[in-house]
């Protein structure tokens, strides 16, 4: 496991290894409270047309942008051109050149397109964006995106919002082993133990949205993920003892029992 004490993306250092998505919350306030409870320093956002009949924007009022770095995504893009267009709009709306690159042509599983994602990444890097691509757990694609200048790779654990956990464990382990940029496990992490497993495996961070947003108590769930990620980071830095097939006694053998027989 790479011993990386600090998480640094594009020379920005993050204390928290938990990134939060802001979609699907019951209210802007619930979202803001959960984000605060998560201790996250990076939140993802999406783009949408202003509703001219109701231009009021509760999100802007709810979230204290001085506390968080925004990571706008290109959700909805089905090819590289759409992704680049969305990235430009995102930059104009959020005033950041960071972008979570999502190219997901399939509407049922919302899985990413590796070819369009690489094409868009190359273009966006040229345009000066800091690109964080959402990808399938594909070690070779991850390496190519790194070589193309992406700031991280974000392999999926399971389909977006499925809460199924780290179903791609073997492939993610290879990505981590080869990566020269931070690996952020994204999508499908449904419980704190899932997030902890990813970090224990060596992931640099995790991104969670649905599991927190649809919980009955999003604030409590956000705290839960926060603690689990810290726990896993501590554990991997504590030098785990590793597995064994046989038992290893945790108590001394109590010899006197049978000696007098």
């Amino acid at each position: 496991m790479r011993q990386q004490k600090k998480l640094v993306i594009d020379s920005i250092e993050f204390t928290s290894r938990l990134f939060i998505g802001t979609g699907k919350f019951a209210s802007a306030q619930a979202m803001a409270d959960a984000v605060l409870a998560s201790g996250s320093e990076l939140v993802t956002v999406a783009l949408r047309r202003v509703d001219l009949k109701n231009p009021h924007d509760p999100m802007l009022e709810a979230l204290d942008f001085s506390k968080y770095r925004l990571l706008p995504n290109t959700s909805g893009a089905r090819d590289a051109e759409e992704a680049v267009r969305l990235a430009k709009l995102a930059r104009a709306a959020t005033k950041t050149n960071w972008v979570k690159l999502e190219v997901t042509p399939d509407p049922y599983y919302l899985l990413p397109d590796p070819v369009e994602t690489l094409r868009a990444a190359e273009e966006l890097v040229k345009l000066g964006f800091v690109v964080l691509p959402y990808i399938n757990a594909d070690p070779v694609l991850a390496k190519r995106l790194e070589d193309a200048g992406c700031a991280t790779v974000m392999p999926l654990a399971a389909p977006i919002g499925s809460n199924r956990g780290l179903k791609t464990r073997d492939q993610v382990a290879i990505i981590i082993e080869n990566a020269g940029v931070p690996v952020v496990v994204d999508a499908g992490l449904g419980m704190p133990s899932h997030a902890a497993e990813a970090i224990e495996l060596g992931a640099d961070a995790v991104l969670v949205n649905t599991a927190i947003a649809i919980a009955e108590d999003p604030v409590a769930m956000a705290e839960a993920f926060k603690l689990a990620v810290i726990a896993a980071e501590k554990a991997r830095e504590a030098g785990p003892g590793g597995e064994s097939r046989l038992a290893r006694a945790s108590s001394p053998l109590t010899g006197f029992l049978r000696e007098n027989e």
Partner: protein, 66 residues
């Protein structure tokens, strides 16, 4: 004259600027992304742009997303 804003046709005063339109719509340019006939309009250049009949405007903001 008529233009298209966020996909909807809209009648505006001839010679109206984007900034004026935003004002009429009650929108603050900050935190918005504006696409004029397919090109992003950045804050510096927005002031100088007049609207012409048939123009297409997209007014975008960011919202909650994962």
């Amino acid at each position: 004259m008529e233009i298209k804003v966020n996909g909807e046709p809209r009648r505006i005063e001839p010679g109206m600027t984007i900034v004026q339109l935003l004002g009429e719509l009650g929108l603050e340019p900050l935190h918005l992304a504006i696409e004029h006939n397919g090109d992003i309009v950045d804050e510096t250049s927005i002031a100088g742009i007049d609207l012409k009949a048939g123009d297409t405007l997209e007014i975008i903001r960011f919202v909650g997303g994962g």
